[in-house]
C-alpha cells in the first residue's frame, strides 16, 4: 500500500488541485544534448520540497517497520522516482505534439503503467528488481518522448490538413475537457486490468457486486465533472451555434458529437468486463444503456438549467453545479437497485422516459435561460 501511495500521490501532483503543464527547463537552442536536457530537467524536478518530505517519510517508515530492511527502502525510493517519471511521461503526451512512434511508445507504456499498478497493488512481482527496472524503462521512454517533440506546444498546432475531424479536435484541443477525459480513462484502464487479473487468478472479485459498479465510474465522472455543464466547456461553440442559426436540436447534435469519442472509448474498454461478468449480462447491458442515455439526456437539461462559469478544470466550487452532480449520482444509485431485485428492472423504462422528457424540457429551459447561460459561461 505504501508503494501504491507513493506512486499515485507523486503522479497526482500534476493534476490536483489543477493541471500544471510540463515545463522544459532547457529550450531547444540551449547548447547541450537532448539527453542532457532531459536528464537534467528530470533531476532538477527532484530538488523540490515535495521529494524532501517524501524521502523523509520513506526513511521514517523504514526505521519504524518491524523488519526494517534495505528492500523496502530501495523499492519505496524506486516508486517515488518512478511516479515522477511516469507523471512526466503522461505530460509529454498531453502537452506536446510528438512523432507517431513516440505516441506508439507512450501507449505501450500505458500497458506498462498498468502492470506497474498491479505490481504495486498486489505485489505479484518481486519488489526491488522490478521497480528499478521500471524506473529505467520509463526513464528511457521519457528520453524518447523528449527527443520526439515536434517543436511547438500541442495547443498551438491544429493542422487542418490532418484527417482528424473537427469534433475530435474540439475535444483534444480543449485543455480542460482533454485532461478530464484522460484522467477518467486512465483510472478505468487500471480498474479493468485489476479486475481482469483477479478474475484470471480466480480471486474473489473485490466485494461481491461492487466491481460491476466500477464499469460506470468513468461515464459518471465525465458527466459530473463536465458534461453536465457542457456549454461552459465550449462556450464559443455554443454562442456560434446560437447566433448563427439558433437551432437547439442542432446544438444537441453537436453536444452528442462531443460526447461520442470519450463514451465510445469507455464502452470499448468496458467490453472485457462483459466477459468477466457474463452471468450478469442482462443487468450490465440494461444498466449501461439506461445510465448512458440518462446521463447524456440530463446533461443538456443541467447545462441549460444550472450553468456555471468554468475558469479551471479543478475549481473550488466544481466545474458543474453541485446539485446536478448530486442528482446524477443519486439517479445512478437508484438505477443500481436493479441489481438487488429483478422487480427493479421496471426502473429502466421509467428512466428512459425521463431522459426523453429531459431533452424535451431542456429546449424550453434553454430558451428561457439563454441570457443567463451567456452571462455565466462567457
Amino acid at each position: 500500500m505504501i508503494y501504491a501511495a507513493l506512486f499515485f500521490i507523486t503522479i497526482s501532483r500534476t493534476f490536483i488541485p489543477s493541471y500544471n503543464p510540463l515545463k522544459l527547463e532547457f529550450p531547444n537552442y540551449y547548447p547541450i544534448s537532448v539527453f542532457q536536457k532531459y536528464s537534467l530537467s528530470l533531476l532538477g524536478d527532484y530538488i523540490k520540497p515535495f521529494f524532501f518530505y517524501m524521502l523523509s517519510f520513506i526513511l521514517t517508515a523504514t526505521f519504524f517497520r518491524e523488519n526494517a530492511d534495505f528492500n523496502f527502502l530501495a523499492t519505496a525510493f524506486a516508486y517515488l522516482i518512478l511516479g515522477n517519471i511516469v507523471r512526466q511521461n503522461i505530460q509529454y503526451v498531453i502537452d506536446f505534439k510528438l512523432t507517431k512512434n513516440a505516441y506508439l511508445a507512450s501507449f505501450i507504456a500505458i500497458g506498462l503503467i498498468i502492470i506497474a499498478s498491479i505490481n504495486i497493488a498486489f505485489s505479484f512481482l518481486d519488489g526491488v528488481l522490478i521497480s528499478w527496472l521500471l524506473v529505467v524503462l520509463f526513464f528511457l521512454l521519457g528520453y524518447y518522448q523528449h527527443y520526439s517533440i515536434i517543436d511547438e506546444r500541442k495547443s498551438s498546432i491544429a493542422n487542418s490538413s490532418s484527417k482528424r475531424g473537427i469534433n475530435f479536435k474540439l475535444i483534444v484541443n480543449n485543455k480542460k475537457a482533454r485532461m478530464l477525459i484522460i484522467v477518467g480513462l486512465f483510472f478505468k484502464i487500471i480498474v479493468i486490468v485489476v479486475l481482469i487479473i483477479q478474475a484470471y487468478k480466480g480471486k474473489e472479485l473485490l466485494v461481491d457486486n461492487i466491481p460491476i459498479m466500477w464499469l460506470f465510474i468513468t461515464p459518471l465522472a465525465f458527466f459530473t465533472y463536465f458534461y453536465n455543464n457542457i456549454w461552459a466547456f465550449w462556450p464559443s461553440l455554443m454562442v456560434n451555434m446560437e447566433l448563427r442559426n439558433g437551432d437547439y436540436y442542432q446544438m444537441i447534435k453537436q453536444g452528442l458529437q462531443l460526447m461520442k469519442f470519450p463514451l465510445l472509448i469507455d464502452f470499448i474498454l468496458a467490453l472485457p468486463l462483459l466477459y468477466i461478468f457474463s452471468d450478469k449480462l442482462v443487468f450490465i447491458s440494461l444498466f449501461y444503456i439506461t445510465s448512458v442515455v440518462f446521463l447524456v439526456s440530463f446533461s443538456f437539461f443541467w447545462s441549460a438549467l444550472l450553468p456555471i462559469k468554468v475558469k479551471k478544470v479543478f475549481q473550488r466550487k466544481g466545474a458543474t453545479n453541485m446539485w446536478s452532480s448530486m442528482a446524477t449520482m443519486l439517479a445512478i444509485a437508484i438505477l443500481a437497485l436493479m441489481q438487488v431485485n429483478a422487480w427493479f428492472y421496471i426502473i429502466s423504462p421509467f428512466f428512459l422516459a425521463m431522459s426523453a422528457a429531459a431533452i424535451w424540457f431542456s429546449k424550453d429551459i434553454y430558451r428561457d435561460n439563454k441570457h443567463k447561460i451567456y452571462e455565466k459561461i462567457m
Binding site: A158, S160, N173, S236, N240, R244, G246, H371
Partner: protein, 249 residues
C-alpha cells in the same frame, strides 16, 4: 430590416439606453458612433438577443428578434465584442464549421474559404494554424471571414477595425464597399472615423443614453463641409475646460 422601438436597457439601476427608436433599411451602411461605454455594444448585443432588454421591442424583418426562425437567423452575419471564435480549431476548420452551420455546399464553401483567406491572410499557412495562437488582428480577420462567408443580408459589426493594422483595415473597408448592395444592410459600431468615413451612408450618435443624431452622412457632415470627427465633436462636446486645469503639462 431592423426596427427598434422604445428600447430601454439598464445595468444594476444604471440606465444605458433610454427610449431608443431606430429604423435601419436595405442599402444602408449605418455607423453608430459614441464615446466608450455609451452602450453601442450593448445595443448590438440586444439586437442579436444575447442580452435582454428592460423595455421596448426589436424587430428583424418585421419579426421580434427573439422569435426569428433558423432561416431568418442565417441571413445575419455578426462580429460581436467577444469574437466568439473557437480556439480549439484552426482558422480553416473554424470557417468550415461555420459554413456547415449555415448549410453551405462543400464546393462553394471551399471556394469562399480560399477567396476570403487569400484576400485577408498574407501568409497562407496562417489559416492552418490553431486560432489559440492568433494575434488580435488575425482573430478579428477570421471572425470577419466567418461573418460574411454566407453572404448575409444583414451584417452587424461591432468595432470591426480595432486591432487591425492600417493595411488590413483598408482591405476591410474595400471589402465592405464591394459588399454593399441595395438589398443588404451593414450596421457598424466603430471608433475608427477614418474608415467609417469611407463607407458609411448613415450615421447615428449615441450619447448619454440617447440617440442624439440619426441621419445620412451628408447631413452629418453638412455635405462634406465638416470632417467626420469635427461633426462628431460638435455633437459630443468634449470637456476641454478640464484640460486647462492641468497646469503641470
Amino acid at each position: 430590416m431592423i426596427r427598434i422601438e422604445n428600447l430601454e436597457k439598464s445595468y444594476v439601476n444604471k440606465l444605458v439606453i433610454d427610449k431608443l427608436n431606430l429604423e435601419l433599411n436595405k442599402g444602408m451602411i449605418y455607423s453608430l458612433l459614441g464615446k466608450n461605454g455609451v452602450g453601442k455594444s450593448t445595443l448590438i448585443n440586444i439586437i442579436m438577443d444575447i442580452i435582454p432588454t428592460n423595455a421596448g421591442n426589436v424587430f428583424i424583418n418585421d419579426t421580434p428578434h427573439n422569435e426569428i426562425t433558423k432561416e431568418q437567423k442565417s441571413k445575419i452575419g455578426f462580429i460581436g465584442e467577444n469574437l466568439a471564435i473557437i480556439d480549439e480549431l484552426s482558422g480553416k476548420d473554424f470557417l468550415k464549421f461555420i459554413g456547415k452551420i449555415y448549410g453551405i455546399a462543400n464546393n462553394i464553401l471551399e471556394k469562399r474559404i480560399n477567396d476570403l483567406t487569400s484576400y485577408f491572410f498574407e501568409n497562407s499557412d496562417d489559416i492552418n494554424k490553431s486560432i489559440s495562437g492568433y494575434s488580435t488582428g488575425m482573430r478579428k480577420k477570421i471572425a470577419f471571414c466567418a461573418a460574411v462567408i454566407h453572404t448575409p443580408e444583414i451584417l452587424i459589426l461591432d468595432e470591426p477595425f480595432s486591432g487591425l493594422d492600417p493595411l488590413v483595415a483598408n482591405q476591410m473597408t474595400a471589402f465592405l464597399q464591394q459588399y454593399k448592395r441595395d438589398d443588404r444592410l451593414i450596421f457598424i459600431s466603430s471608433h475608427d472615423l477614418n474608415y467609417v468615413e469611407k463607407i458609411a451612408t448613415h450615421i447615428g450618435v449615441l450619447d448619454n443614453e440617447l440617440l442624439v443624431f440619426n441621419a445620412s452622412m451628408e447631413d452629418f457632415t453638412h455635405n462634406g463641409l465638416n470632417s467626420l470627427d469635427n461633426a462628431l465633436l460638435k455633437i459630443l462636446k468634449p470637456n476641454d475646460s478640464e484640460l486647462s486645469k492641468i497646469d503641470w503639462l
